[in-house]
């Protein structure tokens, strides 16, 4: 019989950070109607205020662990840490957007509400404990991003970007959800801990459900692989990143990846760690992750060398970075390394979030009002016209390469350490070698800024809010590089509420 749950049994308290963002997005949608057209920056500050509230609420719930909504949603340190990354990213992105939107003439209130909706989708996704919730959160994350990518309509590039993202995103969601259906068919449940228990109880070597499970988890991986843009599901990334407004690109290159990897790590570590085909071997999906991670870092880094547009270059660089995070996911397939691997992925995402936001923010400052001017030549001579901006960009480029004293180095260090712990030595070697290759194209931007003549057109977009965002990202990049203990301290004491 259907039972109506009591309000207490839902235990909504632990979900307040994600819930508050979702509710505030709905409220802001109405409030925005009463804000006059020329004062839309008020909507931005209201949206940012909502994120600050959620951030504070997240600090309170950070150390609590427990499930809400009858096991559909789980609050633990992993989700709390991811929420920190997502909320800070969202806040910086909103602050960056205020002047930028005005400058390129698309200042509309919906932009900020859509941002809040996609942020709440990400937050639900990293704390989802059930395949149904992951699916709904994935769509809540994606659908506003399709609209945001096309926000510059009727600019044909932006519309094309939105259309491509939409078609491939919907295609990927269909794969994900079919995979979820097959996993349900194999196990009879969509709840991740229950999937884990069911799989542990089965003798997979002679169970007919193993084919369903194999196919199902494979399709789930394909669906999430599209979202985080790993090879061979990366083809949409450069086009979408180039065509979308740069503030949106900056946000989605970090936020959508955080959401996707949050769900991927949770599915793999909580749901499928015991999915072992041969007795005593590592999880069946480790080999696949290994190959995808290696292919992703190699392709991302080598194709980035050939790029002339900085937005496209950063798109390929973001593919490469997804590959490094996927290395940590692959490492989680070895029994006992799961926790360390998840920590490495979290640190890497945090480091990458600040650095990448900063790099895109500098690109926004250099960009012209009509959306052009993001080629590598447009950075020529930036050190003369905007010395501070050039120093910041150098910092971000070095951090993306992984030079010591920057956050990027710490991220890579943790990921390679986890990979070695898991016994995947060749993968770690590939990681180090491709990092060296990546220096080639990152340093090229730095050289252009310092050793080429200025074209005379200085970065007009460097407005006060954007500058603050760049300074904050730069400070965080350095701080995490010098004192990584700030981030690692937050991960201590068990990441997942349900440790298998």
């Amino acid at each position: 019989m259907l039972q109506i749950p009591t309000l207490e049994s839902l235990n909504m308290g632990v979900a307040i950070p994600a819930l508050s963002v979702a509710v505030w997005a709905c409220v802001l949608l109405v409030i925005d109607l009463f804000i006059p057209k020329e004062q839309k920056s008020r909507t931005a500050w209201l949206a940012a205020g909502g994120l600050v509230f959620a951030f504070i609420a997240n600090l309170f719930t950070f150390n609590t662990s427990g499930d809400a909504f009858l096991g559909l949603f789980v609050a633990d340190r992993f989700g709390g840490f991811m929420n920190l990354i997502i909320l800070v990213t969202g806040f910086i992105s909103i602050v960056m957007s205020i002047d930028y939107l005005k400058r390129i003439g698309i200042e509309k209130g919906e932009y900020y509400t859509l941002m809040l909706f996609t942020i709440s989708g990400m937050m639900f996704m990293v704390s989802a404990n059930d395949l149904i919730v992951i699916f709904v959160a994935l769509e809540l994350l994606s659908i506003p991003l399709y609209v945001l990518s096309a926000f510059r309509a009727p600019d044909v590039k932006s519309e094309e970007s939105g259309m491509k993202y939409f078609i491939l995103g919907a295609f990927a969601s269909a794969f994900f959800v079919y995979g979820a259906a097959l996993v349900y068919g194999a196990t009879g449940t969509t709840n991740l801990p229950q999937i884990f228990q069911t799989i542990s109880g089965l003798d997979l070597s002679q169970n007919s459900n193993v084919l369903l499970l194999l196919l199902g988890s494979g399709l789930v991986l394909v669906g999430l692989g599209f979202k985080v843009a790993v090879v061979p599901f990366h083809a949409w990334t450069p086009d979408v990143y180039e065509g979308a407004p740069t503030s949106v690109t900056a946000f989605m290159s970090v936020g959508a990846k955080a959401g996707g990897f949050g769900a991927l790590l949770r599915i793999m570590i909580v749901g499928l760690p015991s999915f072992v085909l041969i007795e005593g071997a590592n999880a069946a999906w480790q080999q696949v992750m290994w190959i995808i991670a290696a292919a992703t870092v190699i392709l991302g880094n080598f194709v980035a060398i050939a790029q002339t547009n900085v937005k496209r270059l950063l798109a390929y660089s973001s593919i490469a970075h997804a590959g490094y995070i996927l290395m940590a996911v692959a490492a989680a397939g070895t029994a006992g390394v799961g926790e360390a691997a998840a920590t490495a992925a979290l640190i890497y995402l945090l480091a990458y979030a600040f650095t990448n936001l900063g790099a895109f923010a500098v690109a926004m400052a250099v960009e012209k009002d009509d959306g052009t001017g993001t080629n590598i030549e447009d950075f020529d001579g930036l050190a003369k016209s905007r010395p501070i901006l050039a120093v910041m960009m150098t910092g971000f480029m070095l951090s993306l390469t992984g030079i010591p004293l920057t956050s990027g180095f710490m991220g890579k260090l943790f990921v390679f350490q986890a990979t070695l712990d898991a016994g995947l030595v060749p993968l770690a070697v590939i990681g180090v070698l491709t990092s060296i290759v990546s220096a080639f194209y990152y340093v090229r931007i730095v050289l252009n800024m310092y050793f080429k003549e200025a074209p005379g057109d200085e970065a007009k977009g460097a407005t006060p809010y954007l500058n603050w965002a760049i300074y904050a990202a730069f400070a965080a990049t350095l701080l995490l590089g010098i004192l990584p203990a700030i981030a690692t301290g937050l991960t201590e004491g068990g990441l997942f509420a349900v440790i298998p």
């Binding site: 399709y146 309509a153 044909v156 259309m163 079919y178 259906a181 002339t308």
Partner: protein
Amino acid sequence: MIPTEMAVLLSVVLFVLGTLGVLFKRNAILVFMSVELMLNATNLALVAFAQQWGEETGHLFVFFIITVAAAEVAVGLALIVAIFRTKKSINIDELHQLEG
């Protein structure tokens, strides 16, 4: 009672048809319909599995998928209309401003 295998087999056929449609159709609306076909194949599989396991999670999942598909339709058709206004075409092969 229809055996689960038959229903799942049909859903696989529909899913593959949808996938082929997305890959080979050039009209944005047809591509979009193919995605819907994939989602409905999923619904069929879920209902079949729910019947096999004798519990209702699968049925619930179907409701969520139907709702989300409706939201996707709204955004997708809006994008198609916007593109049509600018380019007077919804052939996805003609979307090639972004290459390099």
